[in-house]
Every structure is written in C-alpha cells, then in structure tokens.
Symmetry: none
C-alpha cells in the first residue's frame, strides 16, 4: 500500500509557512506501516492541481490532500480532484445543515454567499464532519484508488485525522500494527539513543524510533502481527526493558498525554494543589496547566510577575534579594516559589525567572540562563538551566523543565512520605 | 522564470524531520521574484529520483535539489541528476584537494573509501565550495535548464545558499517582486474576501491573496516591476484602497509584527500600562504579551485566576456576582477587569472568562461561550463571544479577540481624548 501526500497552498510555495502538516501526516502514515515515496506541494491553480493529482493517483494507491477546501475562489482542491477522478460534485444536505447551524450560533448573522461552495461533495464520497471548522473532510474511492481530502488548518486537520481518518486507514491494512509511545523527560535525544543502541541495532519487530521534541524525547515501538494480542506480546518485553533503563524519566506511555496532563494527574492523585509564579515565561506554565481538562481540581492561581514590583508585591520577594542577586537568580526563584505558594495558599508553587533574550544578556548572565524553583509544602528545590535558541525556544524549554521539576519533586515527596509511613508502621 | 524544489530524504517521507529547508528556499525564491509552482519530496531511490528530476526539468526552468550529496551508498542525487541531464561524472581536482585537506585537519587519519564519491561532479558543472561540510554544491546548466544541487544539512545549506547561490540567482532575475501583508482583525476570511472581491477579480499586478489565521486574516499584495520604485507605485494605490475599506481593523502592515506586538507598541506610544486577569485562557494572554521584546515597558502583571476563590481574593470579584450570574458572565468579566486593574495598579486590565470545554456546557451556557472585558482608566467594556472548536481553538480565539478588544478600547480612548483636547482647545 503506497500513499502520497499533496499539500495545496500558495503560502507554502511562497515560503510563508512551514509545512508541518506534511510531517504530521508522514509520521502517521509511517506508524500505520504505509510506504510513502512522494510528497508534493502545489499552489491553488486548477490545471497544476489536476496534473499532480493525476500523477499521484497513477503511481500511488492512496493520495492524501490537505488545504484548498475553504470557501474562497482560490480553494480548488475538491473541484480538481473530482474532475480528475471523473466524479460530479453534488450538494450534501448534511453538510449544508451543519454550515447553517454554524452561522446560526455565530455572531455573523448572514451567511456569505461563497460559503455554499463548501456544501458540495464528490458524488458517493464519504463525508467526515469537521468539528473545528466548516469544510468537511472527504474520502473518494474509485477504480481501486482512494483520495482523502482534508482541511489545511492544523487545528481542523489533526482532530479530523485522529478521529475519523485513522480508523478508516487502519481498516485498509491487512495486518495489525500496534504502537506504543514512551515519553521521556530529562534526557537529550542522543542520550536516549545511545542508551537504547543495542535494542535499536537489533530491532526488527517491534521497530524502535526516537523523536526529539522540545524538552522531551519520544520512543516509539511498533509491532506488526496477525492480531492485537500477538502484537502486544511482541511489544511488551521491549517496553519493559526500556522501563528498566529509564524508570520514572518516562512520564507517560499513554497516547495523547502531555507532560502537563501527566502532572495534573499526579497532583490529583496526591491531592496536592498548585500555583505558578512566572517571569520570563509570562504565564505559559499556567496556560499549559489550564489546558488540561480537569485542571481546576489542582490548579488554583497563576501569577505572571514580569516586573520586579509585581514580584515583590504579589510574591513577597524581598527587595534586598533582587538587589543583591538580581531578578534572574536562584535566590529570587526560591523566594518566588515560596512566596507564590503562600499567596495562593497552595501545596505547590513553581517559579521561573530567566533571560529569554534577544537582549539583556551579559557574560555572567547570558541569554538562555533560566532559574526555576519548586516549593512543595515548604520545601524548596531550585534548578539552574542554560538553554540555547531564540526567545520562543528558550521559553518553551523552560516550561518543559519546570513541569518536569514539579513532577520529580512530587515523586520524591511521595516516596519520602511512603518511606516515612512504612517506617512508622514498622515502629521505627 | 519558474523554479521547482526537490527535497531528497527518506527521513522527511517518514515524518522524522520537518522540511524547513523547503520553506527557507521557497522564501528566498519568492524574494527573488521567481515563480514556484511545485515542491517535491522524494526518497533516496535512483529510479524515483530520476523520474521527479525529469518531470521538474520538463515543467520548470530551474530546479533546486537538496540532500543526497553525501558519501554513502544512499546518496544518489548527483548521480540521478547527471543521468537525467545526460552529463558524465568526472573527478574534480579542486574538490578532491579540499576533501584531502579536510581529513588532514580532522581527527580521522584515513579517508574512508566512500568519501571519494564526493570528488566527482557532472562535467562542466559550476562547483560551489562547502565551507561547513564536504559535499560541494553544484550548478549544472544544459539546454536552457539549470539544476542546482545543494547539501541537506541546514548548517551547510544556508551559508552556501546565501554566499554563492543567491548571487548566481540574482543575475538570472529580470524583475523585482515586492510584497506587503496587511493584517486584519475582527473579520472572518470570507467577509474579508467578499469586501475585496472586486479588487481580487480585477487583480493582475499586484496580485491579492487572503490567508485565514486564528482570529485574523492576512491580505498579501505582491507587485512585480522592473525596479523597487515601480513595484511600490503599483502596490500603494491598492493598499490605500484596502485601508479605506478596513480602517483600523488593519492592525499592522509590517512584516513579522503580531497582534500582541502591535498592541504593545500602541500601549507604549500611549504610555499605558496593562495587566491581565484570565480564567479559561489561564495565562495565554500574558504569555503572548511577555513574548514581545520590550513588553516590560507596559506589561506589569498577569493573574490567572482559575478558581472562584482566586477571582475573589486576587481580583476582588464579589461572591454575590459569582452566585447570581456565574463565573462565566459579563458581570464577572467586568469585575475581573476592574479588580485586576486595581490590584495590579495598571491603566488597563483585560479579563477573559469562558467555557473552553470539553465538559461543563449547558443549553444556556454552551461550550465556547466566552466573556471578556477591558477596563481602561476605570471605564469597562465587555464583550460576549461564542466560539467553535476544541478547547485549544476556543482558547486561542479568545486570546486574539481579547488582544483586539484592548486595541480597540485604546484607539477609542485616544480618539476620545483627542476630541476632548480639540474641544477644550476650541473652548467648548
């Protein structure tokens, strides 16, 4: 089974945007065990679109197209694909109703005329409802070839793919492919790779691949077998060996669970509340925590104290500390965390203060220097990091390390509590 | 002059890496005024490589290939390109000398046999010395078509392109291409397009394209002319007409300026300080503001008050308000903004409270319902929005609308102040 990607969009050809959809889809197709030999990007031009679709359907079994499904005159993917496949476009009553409902619930009263364009689909197409936008996804099958048309915005594409395209593609496969992703914090990619080198070199089934992400590394095992049970049996011994090597550095093995979600789960289990005190990250940690459904159980309050005044007034950081050590220092990070926990009346408070640049660095305190601290029931642990990259990358790495710092503190704390409890039980 | 990109690499097809080279080269080519109609990614396979190179040389004047120039057996780009163009590979004495020198200065004493592969070049090719690696860049011209072969690692590609390919391409270019992006808030893409339809339909030079982003729309004008001045003269009347139609909804015309950067600039100009009081967005607005270099001039403090308790304690929201209207209400949003400005002692405070889902909705207050308010020197303006999409999308839209709300309030406020000043001057 060969699959080919066609990305439609002049903004990609002009270099305005990075084609992250192609990577996303390529990764998913590789996970599914499909062979991908070609990826093509083409602009919003009817003739050129038709030509690349024709070539793709000639040389590949399955063609996934993204972009060009919207309401504007530029959007021609559906039209070109229907023309090449020789399928007429017909109005889809269900999609029409959804679009009408969308506008009824929206502030825009009138439906712009061009939106009706989105209600037509290639005759006989499988229509995939788009819960995050208006243009539906479409699957068109003809003469043993399949075209899957998906919206370009990642916020629409990803959920649509996960929820509706993935199950469809899984059915096309003859064997079962089972994947497990183990997400590891606190080690770089080359570190993870060298620790797994013997396993990677010996890999056949399951395969082992590492993916470097910001502040974390994902190790993905993929086993292929006749059924789920056999695939699971192939996967589990290798997973167990990786667990033995990385221990609690693996923060989750569940698909779709982020570091912040793992942390919220852990805090909920341990019945600990949390607050944040952020300087250079300005609320990124609190925003991440709040993005976890159910975070309200543990997250109480976020304080973005960018100015020294706010650090003093809101968190009780002492003026002398700021004067003597500076805002970017372990001492300030400690006082921010301790003061934040007190101000927000939470069990835990995590603080970040650093130099995200581009300006403001010095030989003693270069750009990328970040201090963070975690205060847990009065105990404060501080860490110093030196990150590389631009402002955004420094901030993103800071967030990941801070979330992991809290995770480690909570794990240590509960280990300590468990030992103490065991000791008390034993009468020590 | 049309140019086509071919990225060679199985790691792109497997989704292991993001194809940032393609974006880089596309942007450079657009800047140079070349038309790019196709980008293709292909793996390290001789037959498939030949086929995409043949197609590219048929339909485009200039083909830029990246990757597959290294010493391993997998590296086939040069071989495939020479075969398609019918040019023999010959040893290049200069490249051979450079590679020998490289190994002399390197820790590896012996030159691995496969490295000699890199010393051959297509006969008659222009050889571009690679100062950051071993495989040289190559320019091959034949029958009015040009192939440019470049190494894949960005650390080799970028300097090689800037220093040697750019000057070569500049000589080929016959005209100048000038672009302007106008960023618009408060209108959907189809709304913007319908308002510009007559201009879009009549477009030839400059061309007009709209790009939908989260909570904003970008309109890009591109003019092509003999020189910069003539291009500017073509661009300006159309830009002026768009300004007339959208007025202050255009928040910037500068490349690379985000809505938050435009807001920070506006606040700095008006000498207004700002704080944030966020519930469902949990610090996303403050994180955005802090990401603008120089934000410390205006941004004082961010408060992420997710719990009702924090809303009361930190922002002074009244218990009766929360009881009577609920946390997600215009009344609560108003009290959050007013209380936040007071607590942080800032001129402006913007608040957001809403239901980002996935759970928690009701017929009266469905998921996606978001209230926001802006308090500016004691005057509070509140807005109600109903957003669509998943939790993340609802939050992202909320952030954009909140930033725009502040922007509009500040503009109205300064208009009012200007009118008042003018009135006072006129003795009214």
């Amino acid at each position: 089974m060969t699959v080919e990607l066609i990305s439609v969009g002049t903004e990609i050809l002009m270099g305005n945007i990075l084609n992250s959809n192609a990577r996303y889809l390529a990764e998913k197709c590789a996970m599914l065990g499909f062979n991908m030999y070609f990826q093509v990007t083409v602009g919003d031009n009817f003739g050129r679109l038709q030509s690349v679709i024709r070539t793709a359907l000639d040389r590949s079994d399955l063609v996934i197209l993204t972009g060009g499904l919207g309401p504007t005159e530029d959007d021609l993917t559906k039209e070109a694909c229907a023309a090449v496949m020789g399928v007429p476009l017909v109005e889809d009553a269900h999609t029409k109703a959804l679009i009408e409902a969308y506008f009824r619930n929206n502030i825009y009263r009138e439906i712009p005329q061009n939106n009706w364009k989105m209600t037509t689909v290639p005759e006989g197409a499988l229509v995939l409802d788009n819960h995050n936008g208006m243009a539906p996804g479409l699957i068109v099958e003809k003469n043993g070839k399949t075209a899957i048309l998906l919206p370009g915005p990642p916020g629409e594409l990803y959920p649509l793919f996960e929820e509706q395209v993935m199950p469809y593609l899984q059915k096309l496969r003859s064997c079962v492919l089972l994947s497990k992703t183990m997400k590891i914090c606190g080690h770089g990619e080359s570190q993870v790779e060298s620790r797994l080198l013997d396993l990677i070199d010996a890999q056949t089934n399951p395969t082992i691949a590492t993916y470097a992400k910001v502040g974390e590394v994902h190790v993905r095992l993929t086993a292929s077998a006749a059924d789920n049970e056999s695939a699971e049996a192939l996967l589990e011994p290798v997973a167990e060996e990786i667990r033995r090597r990385f221990g609690t550095s693996i923060y989750t093995e569940e698909e779709g669970v982020t570091l912040e979600a793992a942390l919220v789960k852990l805090l909920t289990e341990k019945k600990l509340t949390i607050s944040t005190a952020e300087s250079c990250t300005g609320g990124m940690v609190s925003a991440r925590l709040v993005n976890v459904p159910g975070a309200s159980q543990v997250f109480m309050q976020g304080m973005a104290t960018y100015s020294n005044e706010a650090k003093m007034r809101l968190l009780g950081v002492r003026q002398e500390t700021l004067k003597e050590y500076g805002a970017v220092s372990a001492q300030t990070a400690r006082e921010m965390a301790a003061g934040g926990a007190k101000a927000a009346r939470t069990d835990v408070c995590v603080s970040i203060t650093g130099l995200a640049g581009p300006g403001g660095g010095s030989p003693q305190k270069p750009v990328g220097l970040v201090f963070m601290a975690c205060c847990l029931k009065g105990q404060v642990k501080a860490e110093r990091w030196q990150f590389k990259g631009n402002r955004e990358k420094i901030r993103e790495q800071s967030v990941m390390k801070a979330l992991d710092l809290v995770r480690r503190c909570v794990l240590e704390f509960s280990d300590g509590a468990a030992q103490q409890a065991a000791g008390e039980e034993a009468g020590l």
